[in-house]
């Protein structure tokens, strides 16, 4: 409210008893001033006079005729004033309408916006001036259900809409079209007056009127006169633009364009649109900019992958993730891509006519990991680690890790190679000298392990390799061994690593046992010229087999052997010791040569060599008779000794001690693996796996049937597969065979009259 120079027109208010004509004559001048010249201000006395005049008129009870007789209490007067005001507004717009007729586009909008400001400011003022009318008469009318009677401000808006806004719009939606043209100019890159757009757009919002609740925001006018045509225009604009753009630009460029456009539209809402428009506008843009071109994007995806176009992949992902059906085709393609990459990488390793049998485990594992790493990074970087893409990666990796050129049709080759690689890592003399590197390498093994289908094959190879590392003392570090076992345990559970842990327990018990035996012997005997250490290994936990033949224990070690047998029996009576000569080793000191050497031998080599304490030449048959070592193995044992020039084999089957043996090293390692053993190993492991699987399947069936009592054939097979596939992928014929075995053993039976249903036999 201003204070300065109001005209003197409002000094003399009409008397309290003034009638409508007199009252309005006074008021209309005030209203006019407020609506048209408010910028010149209005002083307080003038305002008070006007206010009082409204009050006096509304409280006057002398007025007849216009009051309803059925109303009780104070009579409320105001209808006449209200009508006068209504009429005033209609009159008010006349000159404005004439003015707008000659205006177009931005000029029109500017005029409209200025008038809107002036008008709404005045209307607000009037609303306060007519407070009394609003508070009593209007309220009463509305309370009685007359929803088309409004407070003065609202009345002003309703009149604006009816007598100013709609008439302009009627002319080819002149206002809305002007707005849309302005927005299009902005889309085309011109700078426009956003404040102007905002003012006009939000006037549309203000004009929406809910008759039931005039205070509530109502978007009818906004939607009809702006939002709907705006969305239509947007669709047309972007349809045309995207088609034209794609006709002369690459998909990569289009992705950038679409991304920019979507961001712009989002900003547009912030700048001058109602937030309720966001959903529809954005979804329309997504429709036109993304969905319409999704085929093309899907098809271009492979090329982006092939050329590692990370940023484009990110963009394509971000865009297509905005439409529900957008990503699935990408996930499928990505899965195929990764699988292809994995297969190609291994095929390249094997090469044309290459040999899958001689592939180096490390090279194999590195190749698999390389493909995984690269694509895993793509998932993280370009696809924001989205679960669907992660699943596609996993699916593809599971495929090529288990089945590739190196594995052929064998499902056991990959677990074997990966287990062998883990063995190499955990051995002494591995190049990964630093612990951290080793730990990282083991973690990478676990990455592949996760994808293995035949985890039991890995387990069996791993167990075999671990047992070798332990009994030959070539494990790189206990810490790393323990770390690997805990990783496997975490992945597959306690049962999976139970055996492995027991092996470590045996090792540490054996160390104590060796010490306590040594101590006891030094107390009781003083003739121990042999250093003896022993490992006592639980039969069920170690994948070791005793020699398939007899072995004559050489007299040189027989005393120690007997003493240990007795000592062990006193400690653990009733336990049976089986001596694994085929895994034992010895160190022999030479005293038949000028230079003293230490020969590191297997026990078989030792048994052969000690024979030469008493003989200088021996025949194969004599050696065989003296040792009982199977001839197939014996000849290889001898061959190694001959090759090392310890023995001389000049005549067939005749072996002489070489009196001229010489070596640069004092410690001579003769204990090299025998070929037959190496070859046999893999086959034995696989045989063991097969046996284990048979029992695993049977046990699973029994467990399931015990719980379910009866089950259909197919359901049972599915259940077995789902329960067992974390260890290996069972073949259906194997499951059926297990079912047959259990039928035969009468753990289960066919239900009478239903050959497809089995029942548990308690």
């Amino acid at each position: 409210m201003a204070s300065s120079s109001t005209s003197d027109a409002f000094i003399s208010a009409p008397p309290r008893t003034a009638d409508l004509e007199e009252t309005w004559a006074f008021l209309t001048k005030g209203v006019d001033h407020i609506m048209n010249k408010l910028d010149t201000g209005m002083d307080f006395p003038s305002y008070t006079n006007l206010y009082t005049t409204v009050y006096n008129y509304c409280t006057s009870t002398k007025m007849h005729g216009k009051t309803d007789s059925n109303r009780t209490g104070a009579n409320l007067v105001g209808a006449d004033l209200y009508v006068k005001l209504q009429d005033y507004f209609v009159e008010h717009f006349k000159s404005m309408k004439e003015k707008t007729a000659g205006l177009q586009d931005e000029e029109l909008l500017r005029y409209y916006a200025t008038e809107w400001d002036r008008y709404t400011t005045g209307a607000n003022f009037l609303n306060r001036l007519f407070t009394y009318l609003n508070r009593y008469w209007v309220k009463r009318e509305r309370d009685e259900g007359k929803k088309n009677v409004y407070q003065v401000y609202t009345l002003a808006l309703a009149q604006w809409k009816q007598h100013f806004f709609l008439p302009i719009q009627k002319e080819d939606t002149k206002l809305a079209s002007a707005l849309l043209r302005l927005i299009e100019r902005q889309r085309n890159g011109e700078v426009i007056d956003q404040g102007l757009v905002k003012k006009v757009v939000f006037s549309f919002v203000s004009l929406g009127l809910d008759n039931n609740d005039p205070i509530k925001e109502c978007l009818d006018v906004y939607k009809e006169h702006f939002e709907t045509p705006f969305i239509d225009a947007t669709e047309k604009y972007y349809k045309k633009e995207s088609d034209t753009f794609l006709a002369s630009n690459t998909v990569s460029e289009y992705l950038k364009k679409a991304e920019d456009r979507l961001r712009e539209e989002d900003d547009r809402i912030e700048r001058y649109l109602h937030t309720k428009t966001r959903k529809e506008l954005i979804s329309k843009c997504e429709d036109v900019l993304i969905r319409e071109h999704s085929e093309l994007m899907w098809e271009s995806f492979q090329k982006l992958l092939d050329f590692d176009q990370d940023e484009d992949l990110q963009r394509m992902y971000a865009l297509l993730s905005r439409i529900p059906e957008g990503l699935e085709p990408l996930r499928k393609r990505f899965e195929g891509h990764v699988k292809q990459a994995g297969l190609a990488s291994i095929s390249k390793l094997i090469g044309e006519g290459g040999n899958a049998d001689t592939i180096d485990p490390k090279v194999y594992v590195d190749a698999l990991l390389e493909v995984h790493k690269k694509n895993s990074e793509t998932v993280t970087r370009s696809f924001k680690s989205e679960a669907g893409f992660a699943a596609s990666l996993d699916k593809a990796c599971r495929e090529f890790v288990n089945r590739n050129t190196a594995t052929g049709s064998s499902s056991t080759k990959s677990p074997e190679l990966i287990a062998k690689h883990a063995d190499m890592l955990l051995r002494k003399n591995n190049k990964m000298a630093e612990e951290e590197d080793l730990e990282g390498a083991l973690n990478r093994v676990m990455v592949l392990f996760k994808y293995l289908e035949d985890k039991d094959v890995f387990q069996t190879f791993y167990t075999t390799k671990l047992s070798k590392r332990l009994i030959h003392g070539v494990s790189a570090s206990d810490e790393s061994e323990a770390s690997m076992i805990s990783k496997l345990k975490e992945a597959c559970g306690f049962e999976y690593t139970n055996k492995l842990q027991r092996m470590f327990t045996d090792m540490s018990l054996s160390k104590d046992l060796t010490d306590s035996f040594k101590e006891r012997m030094s107390q009781n005997h003083d003739d121990m010229d042999i250093t003896f250490s022993v490992m006592v290994l639980g039969t069920n936990f170690w994948p070791l087999n005793p020699p398939p033949h007899e072995f004559v224990i050489p007299a040189e070690i027989l005393t120690t052997y007997d003493r240990f047998q007795k000592y062990y029996q006193t400690k653990h009576s009733g336990r049976k010791l089986t001596w694994l000569w085929n895994y034992s080793k010895n160190e022999l000191r030479t005293n038949y040569l000028n230079q003293k050497y230490i020969l590191m031998t297997s026990s078989y080599q030792m048994a052969v060599l000690v024979l030469y304490n008493k003989n200088e030449t021996m025949s194969l048959d004599e050696i065989f008779a003296a040792t009982s070592i199977g001839k197939d193995i014996l000849t290889q044992v001898l061959a190694l000794l001959v090759k090392a020039k310890i023995l001389i084999n000049e005549e067939s089957e005749q072996y002489d001690l070489n009196p001229g043996f010489k070596s640069k090293k004092i410690r001579v390692n003769l204990n090299l693996p025998i070929k037959a053993e190496v070859k046999q190993e893999s086959n034995e492991v696989l045989k063991a796996v097969d046996e284990d699987r048979k029992y695993a399947i049977q046990a699973t069936i029994v467990r399931i049937m015990k719980a379910r009592k009866t089950m259909k054939n197919q359901a049972l097979i599915q259940e077995v597969i789902s329960q067992i596939s974390h260890r290996f992928a069972p073949r259906i014929p194997d499951i059926k065979k297990a079912i047959e075995t259990l039928l035969e053993k009468e753990y289960i039976e066919r239900v009478d009259g239903s050959k497809d249903t089995f029942a548990y036999v308690a």
């Binding site: 054939n713 197919q714 014929p733 059926k736 065979k737 079912i739 047959e740 039928l743 035969e744 053993k745 066919r750 050959k755 497809d756 089995f758």
Partner: protein
């Protein structure tokens, strides 16, 4: 022919009784008996005889089994024995219509026969299952594949043409299938009853023993 008397039945038993074991007719006695009565050894009739007498062992009838069995059927001559066996052979193995019975002139008591004729399927099942138990050594759960193949060729092949092909398959995979357990025995009949020679009626999803799954795969591979 002469009417039934227990004495005549007993006399027959004595005629074929084992030279070393007076309590039973052995394989030699059975062979002679069949030869004298014109009962072919290679068909199903010896098995039907064992079934009818409730024999516990293959190729051997104890005196008790003989006496009780012949008395039930009222058989005391070789000719009435032959008609009883060939009646059942025709009815169950060759699926012929039942013979007309007239108790006054029937060569033996056809009461049991007529009860079989009412439900030949169930009678055949009984005979079939009997054969498994007859051939199975007491301590074993299985019969060896050679024996079961021989039995199938006699009992199932005449009735079910597909059986001949299954036997051909088993023969080709010599040594792969070592024994027949009760489930396979039962399912073999089920298979013959439900699957026709063109493999109509076979569903790989059903719980057929692996031998039969593998047979089907073999047959499909053979005749594309």
């Amino acid at each position: 022919s002469e009417p039934y008397t227990s004495a005549r039945a007993l006399a027959l038993f004595e005629k074929y009784v084992d030279a070393d074991d007076s309590t039973a007719i052995g394989p030699v006695g059975l062979e002679n008996l069949c030869a004298d009565a014109n009962i072919p050894m290679e068909g199903a009739m010896p098995l039907i005889l064992a079934w009818q007498l409730g024999a516990k062992e293959m190729g051997r009838f104890t005196k008790d089994e003989w006496v009780e069995g012949t008395s039930n059927l009222k058989i005391s001559s070789l000719s009435s024995l032959l008609s009883a066996l060939s009646d059942l052979n025709n009815l169950l193995i060759f699926s012929k219509s039942p013979v007309k019975s007239n108790p006054k002139i029937d060569p033996y008591d056809r009461t049991t026969y007529l009860s079989y004729a009412k439900d030949t399927k169930s009678a055949f099942h009984k005979l079939y299952l009997f054969c498994f138990n007859l051939a199975k050594p007491e301590q074993s759960r299985n019969i060896d594949m050679e024996t079961s193949a021989a039995l199938w060729s006699v009992i199932l092949s005449p009735k079910y043409p597909i059986m001949q092909e299954v036997l051909e398959y088993i023969g080709e995979k010599d040594g792969v299938y070592k024994a027949t357990n009760k489930d396979l025995w039962t399912m073999m009949l089920e298979f013959c009853e439900t699957v026709d020679p063109n493999l109509q009626g076979y569903e790989s999803e059903e719980a057929w023993p692996t031998l039969l799954d593998e047979f089907v795969a073999w047959k499909k591979a053979r005749s594309p």
